[in-house]
Subunit: 220 residues, 2 copies
């Protein structure tokens, strides 16, 4: 996630970011119990800051907590993945619709150029997509919606969870083929200020990528 920089100011921030990274990237596997004392010695901070970090992770749905028992890293299930993509479909569909209304011309231009650059790589036979490129595309549209609450929701919550799934299912660097064209069409709808179409295309795009993951998941 190199686009939207969150800057850590307090010790809790750092601990939260670090813990989230380790969990999302799979260094701390699913289902593991997060012991407050253990983590506080590991990170060399007090239990209070670890506690605060864990609370924040709970709010992001990255860990589950039971009172007086403790927190565990969520175990990802096929149903959970389905649920997550249903939410993404709704929210990112709306984001695309709003982006068609609100995204400044200059930003649409930039987004279009980004895709063109990526198309060069496709022509050269390099595989489209790098995950980073895909994330960048989605993120720009979310920001283009200019709905601050939506932006926060998606970039704080949903995206880390989605990546967690991809990492744990071993599918970093997803489907290579059709995504590029889908992105192109979405941008065109946004450029035409056709919110209705932009939403439909984005929803379909997310459905496809959900199916793509679900197929791989069923082979395991």
């Amino acid at each position: 996630m190199s686009f939207f920089q969150e800057q850590a100011v307090t010790s809790s921030d750092k601990t939260f970011f670090r813990l989230r990274e380790e969990i999302v990237e799979g260094e701390i596997p699913a289902g593991v119990k997060l012991s407050e004392v253990e983590l506080s010695t590991k990170y060399e901070v007090s239990r209070a800051v670890v506690r605060e970090a864990i609370n924040r992770l709970e709010a992001c749905n990255i860990v589950e907590r039971k009172a007086n028992v403790g927190a565990r890293v969520v175990t990802l299930t096929a149903e959970g993945l389905l649920e997550l993509y249903q939410i993404r479909e709704a929210l990112e569909g709306m984001a695309a619709r709003l982006a068609a209304q609100n995204m400044p011309e200059t930003e649409i231009e930039k987004l279009s150029n980004l895709l063109d650059d990526q198309f060069e790589l496709v022509k050269q036979g390099q595989s489209y997509y790098q995950e980073a490129g895909d994330l960048d595309f989605h993120y720009r549209i979310i920001v283009g919606s200019q709905n601050q609450q939506l932006i926060t929701m998606l970039s704080n919550g949903i995206y880390h969870l989605a990546r967690m799934y991809r990492v744990q299912l071993g599918m970093t660097g997803p489907r290579v083929t059709t995504a590029y064209d889908e992105h192109k069409h979405i941008v065109k709808a946004i450029a035409n200020r056709d919110g209705e179409l932009a939403e439909i295309l984005m929803r379909r795009h997310i459905q496809y990528s959900k199916n793509n993951i679900a197929v791989k998941l069923s082979k395991m």
Copy 2:
């Protein structure tokens, strides 16, 4: 909110619920600074539990926090309301679609009966809607989606914020007229297992109620 009972087990839970109530119901007005020491003496708990409660409120978007400065109750704006209803439209639209797929017949029956009961009140000239009835309707459909993450998102986050707006704008007990018919049609679509239509109707229903609020808001 009498439907979905959250039960407080720890002292932090109680403080969180109490604080949220006081803020949402307007006893602690918008923009007010939440002093940790002040609240800890008021509620007779330690600063740590107040801190934890405030952190949770921040995760719900009920307060805003700046590091080393403190937390303030969010000030609701017309733009914020618009943003919130855009999100509700997306998420509850999806919930209605999923409810059409997943809601058990018995639950649909109950929901339908609920509306019939409320219709009796309408016939007797009593104003439809009590806010509670409206909330109950929406909540049942959300639960009917059987998407756990969606349920959590909407009932923890969005709904309290939405109520906060209504209270602060002095519109408890909203539009009386058309909402009943809209609810009827949505339930019918769900009963017919027509997710496509259920989503469209729910989205329109939320758009109407947004407009209804926006009008009142513009008169202030």
